[in-house]
């Protein structure tokens, strides 16, 4: 079961020098959209030694305003250049047009803003995902969010929405286990009944078993009145527990350790990856 790490700037040099055994490297696609420069050269060198997963944060697949051709052009150039093992982005929107008070300008919020789980939102996301896949001539994977607002217009569950997206477009599903747990904790803060871990395993059980292409693990921060998915700490015990359930259900799915804020020493990241491997091996052994 390949376990990869998010490869961020503080570890560019050390990873190339020490070349630790990791299943793949994940990078944020947008950080390598440039025509040239040092960052792109670093990625080329990384690609020479590891499979690379290109994980986007800016496609805005759920945008009712549509995709940005500029973004698609650069993603296609990067995909052609790097030949990644997987290409992914999020089930969110960020791009849109401000109202009259904003002069009607089109902006990009540079965040992963939630979409409603509704038929109109599903139609938009299916069209946008299909357009990306047609352009890249390959399926992409779409990741579930941590969402800090929930739309009143939602009339289906998140797993129903994602399952329909996968069924209609043939895209893969990238399941971020931590995001599900963060949402469950925020649900509890909002007064929703039920054990958060149980709610997460129910969420996983509602997804089709053949669509999941990658799992993400990360840390989060409990601020008291809200839980934030900040990717700034170790994976929590409940998330490991939900991860075990995911592997039991879906088998040896490639797994990523993400750490994006307060990035620790590379050894810490590799330690989390080693733990994911151990947890995975044990879960898979029990499952068989």
């Amino acid at each position: 079961m390949p376990v990869g790490i998010g490869w961020r700037h503080p570890h560019y040099g050390e990873l190339l020098e020490t070349r630790p055994a990791v299943g793949f490297l994940e990078v944020h696609s947008e950080n390598f959209f440039a025509e040239g420069g040092a960052a792109l050269e670093v990625l080329r060198q990384g690609r020479a030694h590891y499979p690379v997963s290109l994980h986007g944060v800016g496609l805005s697949l759920g945008s009712a305003a549509g995709l940005d051709e500029w973004h698609l052009d650069r993603l296609q150039r990067l995909v052609d250049h790097i030949e990644p093992v997987r290409v992914s982005d999020h089930a969110c929107f960020a791009r849109g047009t401000l109202g009259a008070a904003g002069g009607g300008q089109t902006v990009h919020a540079s965040d992963l803003l939630p979409v409603s789980f509704s038929k109109p939102a599903l139609d938009v996301m299916c069209a946008n995902v299909q357009r990306v896949q047609d352009r890249l001539k390959r399926p992409i994977s779409v990741e579930n969010l941590s969402a800090y607002i929930v739309w009143n217009s939602s009339h289906m569950t998140e797993p129903e929405f994602l399952a329909a997206l996968a069924q209609r477009t043939g895209c893969g599903l990238l399941v971020d286990v931590n995001n599900i747990y963060v949402n469950a904790l925020n649900d509890r803060l909002a007064g929703v009944d039920g054990d958060p871990v149980q709610r997460c395993t129910d969420w996983l059980d509602a997804l089709p078993s053949d669509a999941v292409t990658e799992l993400h693990l990360a840390g989060h921060t409990d601020c008291g009145d809200i839980v934030i998915d900040d990717h700034g700490s170790r994976v929590s015990d409940p998330v490991w527990s939900v991860y075990r359930h995911a592997l039991t259900r879906w088998g040896a799915v490639p797994t990523l350790i993400e750490w994006d804020t307060d990035v620790p020493a590379l050894d810490v990241l590799l330690g989390e990856a080693a733990k994911a491997t151990q947890v995975g091996e044990l879960a898979l052994a029990v499952a068989t």
Binding site: G37, S110, N186, D225
Partner: protein, 268 residues
Amino acid sequence: MNPLATEQRALLDALFIQTIGAKPGNATNNIAAQAYYTGARGLKAYKNNAFSLAGRTLQAAYPVMAQLLGDEAFALLARDFWHAHPPVRGDLAQWGAELGDWVQGHAQLAAESYLGDVARVEWALHQAASAADLATQPATFALLSTTEPDQLTLQLSSGTRVITSAYPVASIVTAHLHGNPTLEAVGARLRAGEGESAVVWRQGFKPQVASCSAAEAAFVLALQSGASLLSALEQVSDFDFNPWLSSAVQSGLVLGARPLGSPLSEPS
């Protein structure tokens, strides 16, 4: 507009509404009416993330501006700029181009009138860092002795820009990035009203900036506009080409010579 687009616009308005001077409360109430449970707290989380991102992103592109203004003032400036010029691309490295003009027109920074040009130099450095990779091709310099100067030109480094300023702008930037000249020296030049032209280019993967003479600035600008070597030289006076070329090749500002209208390529 369909309900989905209306819903998404409501959230974007709530995040960016201060940009345009409307009452923030209206947008927040609008989103609260359409979203539930974590509505207000969730919106705050997105806003906090945006402001933090704005500060980090702008500081990465404008490290000298950040030093000049100090961390707290720069963070506030980044937040205001986020509202005044929201990102339009999903790649945040593209955000910030208007900072120079925006700072120049900022009432509270009117006394620091050099900041606009400092920002323009920093943006040129930021762009040079990600410009297309071009290698030096030494063998092409043979063209200088085999081809008439009206039929050839010089290939400048990727990302080359010239910024002419009424302030010692290159020195301000290098003083803060490299300690050369000293801050005392550059302060004296600023008070004396000295202007400078700054040339920005890339040496290998490293963006560079240096002050240059008015003649060098005019010569580089002529080359950038597509002029032949002869035409570029005819546009400047007090310019000693041979020592300049030697230094420009050594620093990576000039990568080679090429026939007019042709790309840079080593002779086969």
